[in-house]
């Protein structure tokens, strides 16, 4: 089976590219095929890119605090586009202000993300999570 394809980008009107770029570089070095959409990327562009590239996962970055608004309905967009169970990660400074992480995490899992990552997450943690989830999925029977 060829290299997994990942779509990365910073959602909404968010200019914070540094962490997303370092993450994308690290994912490439780890052998993934990475479609990096960069900063200020509308939710729809993520989905479009995922379809065009038959991506296995979408990694959404949101640093500027408005991710709580930008990410609403993201999973629905995927489902509408037929990407019913594409792996969805989100990470960064997801909400406005210093809020208890468990609560923030719950909000984004409820939005349909498979995992959410707290501020200051290091790339190693992202890589480990991807590996684990893909392994699990390889084990699983293919989706109906």
């Amino acid at each position: 089976m060829g290299a997994r394809t990942l779509v990365t980008g910073v959602i909404g009107a968010d200019t914070h590219i540094v962490g997303n770029r370092i993450l994308s570089m690290a994912l490439e070095e780890a052998g993934y095929r990475v479609i990096a959409l960069g900063a200020l990327t509308p939710a729809t562009d993520f989905v479009k890119a995922a379809i065009e590239t038959a991506a296995d996962a979408i990694l959404v970055s949101s640093l500027y605090g408005q991710g709580e608004l930008d990410c609403r309905g993201f999973r629905d967009l995927c489902v509408e586009a037929g990407l019913d169970d594409i792996l969805l990660y989100v990470g960064g400074n997801l909400v406005v202000g210093k809020q208890p992480w468990p609560e923030v995490e719950r909000r984004f899992l409820e939005m349909g993300f498979d995992r959410a990552f707290p501020p200051g997450t290091r790339v190693e943690d992202a890589l480990a999570a991807l590996a684990a989830d893909f392994d699990r999925r390889d084990g699983d029977p293919p989706p109906r």
């Binding site: 200019t15 770029r21 570089m25 500027y64 605090g65 406005v96 202000g97 210093k98 200051g120």
Partner: protein, 493 residues
């Protein structure tokens, strides 16, 4: 919309001042883009500014601080609703003793997504917490702005990190804000992905022309350039070169009061040298272009790169940020807080950051480094670097700053590390050297003399050697994280 605006502007890009009647038509078109634009009445605005007491005029405050060698404090701060914003600004004024009170706009407003901003306001009111990272002043309009200005007893500045400032500025100035942070080169390279450098320059030519128009009517406003760029390990020479170019563009539109910002490198000597060099070089190039009466105070910014999660470590960056600004002789300092790595600070944490900084300024108020050999060396180094870059840009533009800047970015002669903008090469890669100086690992196409590049490379090789790591790009990436690392890793027992 920008197309119309630029169509109305001089057909070909030039640094020249926008002719009066063309600017008149540009303003009409601009104000028509959103309903609150209609609230702007220039003469009434001029009258309001003239009626402001001096201690609420930022231009006056900056000139006084510069003359008295004082360092003013200013935080950032924006939340979604008027009630929250008012409470925040009052807290910063009273609890934080801020010398300058800010209004930061939200990121939808920055990108002129006013409908999205409105949704953010509504959701924030529904959930009774701010879901926006700033205050949507265009949506709220003139009256709300005035209410904020009247709620505080300090000068107010608009912080609007955007390449599209035209509506925000019109409404902000009309509301009584006496300061506006932003510039065509700096913000276009750092805050947007698709917009061209040319468009960004045109947008700020509009803003600077507007500030000049107020000046023509006897109202001096504090325009300010955000030299921090992407905030991520920007070497002084790159920041200052762009400060100088943005300053020349503003002067060409008629601006005579133009502040320059520099993000701290967190190296005491490098920061003091950069602050001193920045004002000297700006004045040097202003003189070359024949502008002899432009006031260019320098503002120092607390560390703009990644912050540590540990609030104790963060408190040190806040405190040291005040020390660096004071010793460097900055006219004002822009503060952060112990919450920086986590999220937008509460009003309390924000006020606390202001007081930590203010105390640091008090303690270092009379300390200067003049005569320190290392400091004098660094100042000369920075000056030579900046001249190498700026001279080349002016040459490429056949003397026109706007044209030269666009061509220089296309060629990578001007470059910004970690830029999100497609029109910026972003090949240049900075890193921190063995002694804590920010140096350039990969210069990309920056026109820096060989002997200077060796200074940079030597320091970085020394670091690689000291840490026993290869001399490669990872030095630059490590340097992005360095100051956010927990102490146990940064400085083990």
């Amino acid at each position: 919309m920008n197309d119309i605006a630029s169509a109305l502007a001089a057909p070909a890009l030039t640094e020249a001042a926008i002719p009066a009647e063309i600017f008149h038509r540009m303003r009409a078109a601009n104000l028509a883009r959103w309903q609150t634009g209609a609230q702007v009445d220039f003469d009434a605005s001029v009258a309001f500014h003239r009626a402001l007491p001096p201690h609420k005029q930022l231009a006056v405050a900056m000139r006084r601080a510069h003359a008295e060698r004082r360092c003013l404090t200013q935080p950032r701060g924006g939340v979604a609703t008027l009630a929250m914003q008012k409470a925040l600004m009052i807290a910063l004024d009273r609890e934080g003793l801020a010398d300058i009170v800010p209004t930061t706009t939200d990121s939808y407003t920055r990108n002129e997504q006013f409908a999205a901003a409105q949704n953010g306001v509504n959701e924030s009111e529904r959930l009774e917490r701010s879901l926006l990272n700033g205050f949507p002043i265009v949506n709220y309009g003139l009256a709300a702005g005035r209410e904020l200005i009247e709620a505080i007893d300090k000068p107010a500045i608009l912080l609007t990190g955007t390449a599209m400032p035209k509506l925000t500025a019109e409404i902000g100035f009309a509301a009584g804000y006496t300061g506006y942070l932003g510039s065509g080169i700096a913000y276009t390279t750092s805050y947007i992905k698709e917009l061209s450098i040319e468009e960004g320059i045109r947008n700020y030519q509009y803003l600077d022309r507007l500030a000049a128009l107020y000046a023509e009517h006897g109202v001096e406003l504090h325009r300010r350039q955000p030299g921090f760029l992407t905030g991520t390990n920007i070497p002084p020479c790159i920041a200052i070169a762009i400060c100088v170019l943005d300053c020349l563009l503003a002067a060409a539109q008629g601006v005579r009061h133009y502040g320059l910002e520099l993000a701290q490198t967190l190296h005491l000597v490098q920061d003091a040298a950069a602050i001193a060099a920045c004002e000297t070089l700006a004045q040097e190039y202003l003189a070359r272009k024949g502008y002899r009466d432009v006031f260019t105070p320098v503002t120092s910014l607390h560390w703009m790169g990644a912050w540590p999660q540990d609030e104790a470590q963060a408190a040190t960056l806040v405190s040291y940020g005040g020390t660096l600004a004071a010793i460097g002789g900055a006219v004002s300092v822009t503060t952060k807080t112990t919450h920086e790595a986590h999220g937008i600070p509460t009003p309390l944490a924000n006020a606390e950051g202001l007081r930590i900084t203010r105390m640091a300024i008090y303690l270092a108020r009379d300390i200067r480094l003049d005569g320190l050999p290392e400091y004098e060396r660094e100042k000369d180094l920075i000056a030579r670097e900046v001249r190498a870059i700026v001279d080349k840009v002016l040459e490429m533009g056949d003397g026109d700053v706007a044209v030269g800047t666009v061509r220089a970015f296309a060629a990578g002669v001007l470059d910004v590390p970690w830029s999100p903008n497609r029109h910026v090469k972003s090949r240049v890669m900075p890193a921190r050297d063995a002694h804590g100086y920010l140096r350039i690992f990969d210069p990309g196409a920056l026109p820096l003399p060989k002997d200077i590049l060796e200074v940079h490379t030597d320091g970085l090789r020394a670091r690689a050697a000291a840490q026993g790591v290869p001399y490669d790009r990872n030095l630059a990436i490590q340097s992005v994280y360095e100051l956010s690392e927990p102490l146990a890793r940064l400085m083990p027992n």
